[in-house]
């Protein structure tokens, strides 16, 4: 068991967003989906330590990481690539990638990791001296994921990696994510693109109103249409 | 029933304030006490007016102290250089300062946040540079001395110990009524809305820049009058009214008293003026003590001295409906 989220409650100020939510990420690829504003991003932020949960536990690699600082969680190999892909607008791609290896675990290996990232995203190698805010949407997303990979993650959490991308780029990125998964890195992915999630993940959670509304363990057991209906139905 | 009590309480407090105002100059007869009273009341006017723009409207307007200084210079220049009769210089000061205030704020409010602070601060510095350069009119860096006493039918205010005390009190009371009225009016609420939810307020049709410019102009009226009284009382106008140390002093009054309360800065003006003087035997160490107190207040009493009131449960309940202080806001959440 890599990541175990047990009955987490969290929110912002007095507003509670997550209500005793539990999910598990084993040696597999897990997808989160559901309507906007129902707590998917908050869940990732809580796991990565940006938000302190008011109740519940987060266990990673057998260690209780509840309430620990983001940097110590990154140090454990749990890396979160946030939504909104302009990570560090006024830094060059090279600088942003280098910073991705900031944690003590990843820093000494940064050169070899960067080679791997560049082979995964050759576009980044071309754009290495360019500032992040001058990149195209897809390139920014690659830079963000690349920076996440620079942290040598055991488990990578991606928040809407394909948001706002054209279908062609989306497919390209999905391919890259597959390639990452193939190297044995665990994945926890939020995305609106159900097709991509269905193609990528072994397990899907539907998150609604801060709770797990549906836990899809066996993909074949559920109709694609049902998922879509449920998803859009509740969103409307 | 409850509302009646609130009303009775309000009337009672007005009566108490007026009684204290009437009696204080008769009780505090010593030269030291009277002088401190006049200074602290004038500072209270300046600080509480600053609170309208800084606390309620959330504008980093550092030119406020310049309004005070320009008021004092207008009084001195008008009476000494151009022989304008006393009292008329007060009207002149208001006109000049409101015009300057309007111009400065219209210019400065093109900017946002800290830039407003920096550019308004630069404008204050420009005042000093201009005063130093136009020596023939302003007296240059040494200022102008011999500003005549205010007089009413031949009665000179300076000849009677209580007179400036009462004059300052009248100004403070009128200014406070005006500021409270403004702050709780539709206009005041629009300022708060702009401060806290600008995008939303603008979307609802509140003209952001106009309201803010008006707020600055309104707050500059009593401030310029305080500057006038200050010049007549001290008999001098000198560039130290634009000094960083006076700006600091007044700013600490607003923040220590409690931004966004109007009353808080008044309390702090009196406490800080009297307090620093009370500690005079400590020499430089007293400034160190005041500095520490400022930091401690901001740390542990972010709503300022005025928020001590809210420790009384009955008032706290009533306060819930009021506009919160911007500093207190976060602490309570």
């Amino acid at each position: 068991m890599r990541l175990q989220v047990e009955a987490i409650s969290a929110g912002y100020g007095r507003v509670r967003v997550l209500h005793e939510i539990s999910i598990a990420v084993d040696n597999q690829r897990v997808g989160l989906f559901g309507p906007n504003g129902h707590g998917k991003t908050t869940l990732l932020r809580t796991i990565s330590g940006l938000i302190r949960p008011t109740a519940g536990r987060v266990i990673f690699d057998g260690k209780d990481i509840t309430g620990r600082s983001p940097q110590s969680i990154v140090g454990e190999g749990l890396v979160h690539v946030p939504q909104g892909s302009t990570l560090l607008p006024r830094m060059t791609v090279l600088e942003a990638l280098t910073l991705g290896a900031y944690s003590r675990r990843a820093w000494p290996r940064r050169r070899s990791t960067m080679e791997q990232v560049f082979s995964l995203f050759p576009r980044l190698a071309e754009r290495r001296a360019q500032r992040c805010n001058t990149l195209s949407g897809g390139e920014r997303q690659m830079a963000a994921i690349g920076a996440g990979l620079m942290g040598c993650p055991k488990l990578l959490m991606l928040d809407e990696p394909t948001l706002g991308l054209a279908p062609k780029l989306r497919a390209e990125l999905a391919q890259a994510i597959h390639a990452i998964a193939a190297t044995g890195v665990g994945l926890l992915v939020i995305d609106q693109d159900i097709d991509m999630l269905l193609g990528l993940c072994d397990r899907l959670y539907l998150i609604e109103q801060g709770r797990v509304a549906l836990d899809v363990v066996d993909r074949s057991a559920i109709q694609h249409q049902d998922v879509l209906k449920r998803y859009f139905g509740s969103a409307a | 029933m409850k509302k009646d009590w609130t009303r009775i309480g309000r009337i009672a407090s007005i009566v108490v304030v007026l009684a204290v105002a009437a009696v204080a100059p008769l009780v505090l007869t010593g030269g030291v006490a009277q002088n401190l009273a006049v200074l602290s009341i004038l500072y209270a006017v300046v600080a509480s007016n600053w609170d309208l723009t800084l606390g309620y409207a959330g504008i980093f307007n550092f030119a406020h102290v310049a309004f005070f200084g320009i008021g004092s210079y207008v009084a001195a220049i008008a009476t000494l250089q151009f022989g304008v009769p006393v009292w008329l210089d007060l009207i002149l000061a208001v006109v000049v300062v409101v015009a300057v205030g309007g111009l400065v704020s219209a210019l400065a409010l093109r900017l946002r946040g800290i830039y407003v602070a920096l550019v308004t601060f630069a404008l204050t510095q420009l005042c000093v540079a201009l005063i130093n350069s136009a020596k023939d009119i302003t007296g240059g860096p040494v200022g102008l001395i011999g500003v005549p006493d205010l007089e009413i039918r031949g009665f000179e205010l300076g000849s009677e110990p209580h007179a400036y005390f009462y004059a300052a009190e009248v100004l403070l009371i009128l200014s406070t009524i005006a500021m409270r009225w403004l702050a709780t009016s539709h206009f005041g609420l629009s300022l708060v809305a702009l401060r806290d939810y600008e995008a939303y307020a603008v979307a609802r049709g509140i003209p952001a820049r106009r309201q803010r410019v008006l707020a600055i102009m309104a707050s500059s009226i009593p401030t310029s009058l305080a500057g006038c009284l200050y010049a007549h009382y001290l008999i001098v106008a000198s560039p130290d009214v634009f000094s960083f140390s006076l700006t600091t002093l007044l700013l600490s009054m607003v923040l220590v008293g409690g931004a966004g309360t109007i009353y808080g800065p008044i309390v702090a003006a009196i406490v800080l003026t009297v307090g620093t003087e009370g500690l005079h035997q400590l020499g430089n160490i007293r400034y160190m003590i005041v500095a520490v107190l400022i930091v401690l207040t901001l740390r542990f009493l972010p709503g300022g001295l005025w928020s001590l009131w809210t420790l009384v449960p009955a008032i706290r309940r009533r306060r819930a409906t009021r506009v919160p202080s911007p500093l207190a806001e976060e602490a309570s959440s």
């Binding site: - | 030291v32 200074l39 860096p141 040494v142 011999g146 005079h280």
Partner: protein, 454 residues
């Protein structure tokens, strides 16, 4: 005492000038002050601790003296502390000797400070109100308290004896309109007239005597915009012209705020004046001027107002300022034995003091003298009258006051304009008037023009 006061009239002034010889004529000819008669009636000898404390009285009373000064005003705090420390040193000595012998009691003195916080007007008025309200406080000394000296009207209203040691122009401006309205206010510094007039004739005289030489009689004058700096600069423009010099350039600078003189020096280096006069007198600014001047000196005599008198000037100029000329009015005359003695004791207690150190000591001794003459310290009007009528020798020269302006009298026989030149190893030597001179002018080392061999 009134009867003993010298007569003031234009006739006696002329007579005295005739008798005084060339040097005095030069010094007095255009001074604003009205020099009093001299020689015939000598001033009272300088009071000493012994002379003030020797009596049989046993009864002891304590009185307070206020020091009104910008104690928390950055660079000004040094002056404030100097005058305060020196007055306290004098008081300590008097107290230790049993107290000042007064009419029917011995008086011991304590002090109360009034901080004018960098000369901020509201702080001045607050400090004045507090000091004047103290029933045990009977005298206030100040180096300078405000930028305008407006506090002297408050002192007059409160009837408080006040001896101020700065801003003579401002004092004169306020008091001369109604001298009788200020019976308790006296300025221990004399009229600044001498600053404006005495320099050019003295330079001419020394050029003729072969002590100094300039490539041309041209002068560049930089003044500051405060009353002291402006008045002196304007006066010097006139008096240099009268003395046959041509003023090739002038500049006014804001007081105390110039940190870089290079652009100004660039103009000077183009004009190559025979003499440079700087009346912007703030020490930091003046030291910087010298440091940047000496980077690439022109062949010019250099006169700097006031600043070289402060003890750290030499350190600030890296001991290279020897040759710089300056003058002092109402300052302690360093060649006098009493000045040396006071300065030495002051330095032992507080470190080297500036202009206001001996001045502070003198203030206390002068005040004690009036008590010693039998004036009740609590009778402020009588005290004011006594001080105004004093004619006494002090470390700064003969002290008597002009009733029209309440300023100390200026002139070679009263408080002289004392000219100094900075000498090697950071000292300073009096070069004029001859009665006090320690050496003659020396040609500054940076000048290429040298005086003809004597």
């Amino acid at each position: 005492m009134i009867e003993n006061r010298p007569v003031h009239s234009r006739n006696t002034r002329r007579l005295s000038m005739l008798a005084a010889g060339a040097a005095t004529v030069m010094a007095c000819v255009a001074t604003g002050a009205v020099p009093q008669a001299f020689a015939a009636d000598k001033p009272e000898a300088a009071p000493t601790v012994a002379s003030l404390t020797t009596c049989d009285t046993k009864d002891v009373k304590t009185i307070k003296v206020g020091i009104l000064a910008p104690f928390s005003g950055g660079g000004m705090a040094a002056d404030a502390n100097d005058i305060g420390n020196a007055a306290m040193m004098a008081a300590d000595e008097l107290n230790a000797a049993g107290g000042i012998c007064g009419k029917d009691a011995r008086y011991k003195v304590t002090f109360e400070k009034g901080d004018t916080e960098g000369q901020r007007s509201d702080a001045v008025i607050t400090a004045v109100r507090r000091l004047t309200a103290d029933p045990d406080l009977h005298m206030i000394f100040a180096p300078y308290a405000s930028t305008t000296n407006f506090e002297i009207t408050l002192m007059a209203k409160a009837g408080m004896p006040y001896i101020i040691s700065g801003g003579a122009e401002a004092t004169k401006g306020i008091i001369s309109k109604n001298p009788d309205g200020f019976p308790t206010v006296w300025s221990r510094v004399p009229d600044y007239g001498g600053y404006s007039t005495d320099l050019p004739p003295l330079i001419n005289k020394n050029i003729e005597a072969g002590n100094l030489a300039v490539p041309a009689k041209t002068v560049y004058i930089i003044g500051s915009d405060d009353p002291y700096g402006t008045t002196i600069a304007d006066g010097l423009k006139d008096s240099f012209t009268k003395a046959g010099w041509s003023v090739v350039g002038t500049e006014t600078v804001p007081f105390q705020s110039v940190t870089d003189w290079r652009t100004q020096l660039a103009k000077i280096r183009e004009l190559k004046p025979g003499m440079i006069v700087l009346t912007e007198w703030s020490p930091a600014s003046d030291a910087t001027f010298f440091n940047q001047f000496i980077e690439q000196p022109t062949d010019s005599l250099l006169f700097e107002q006031y600043a070289p008198v402060i003890p750290e000037f030499n350190e600030m100029t890296h001991n290279k300022a020897n040759g710089v000329i300056f003058n002092m009015l109402g300052g302690a005359i360093d060649s006098r034995a009493d000045t040396k003695d006071i300065s030495k004791r002051f330095a032992e207690k507080f470190g080297a003091g500036g202009y206001f150190s001996v001045a502070g000591y003198t203030n206390m001794m002068v005040y004690a003298l009036c008590i010693n003459k039998g004036v009740d310290p609590a009778d402020h009007l009588a005290m004011g009258k006594c001080i105004g009528s004093l004619d006494v020798d002090t470390p700064s020269g003969r002290l008597a006051f002009d009733p029209k302006t309440h300023l100390a009298m200026q002139g070679d026989d009263y408080m002289p304009t004392v000219f100094y030149q900075v000498v090697d190893n950071g000292g300073k030597a009096i070069v004029s008037p001859p009665a006090y001179a320690e050496q003659t002018f020396k040609q500054p080392y940076w000048m290429t023009t040298k005086p003809a061999a004597k």
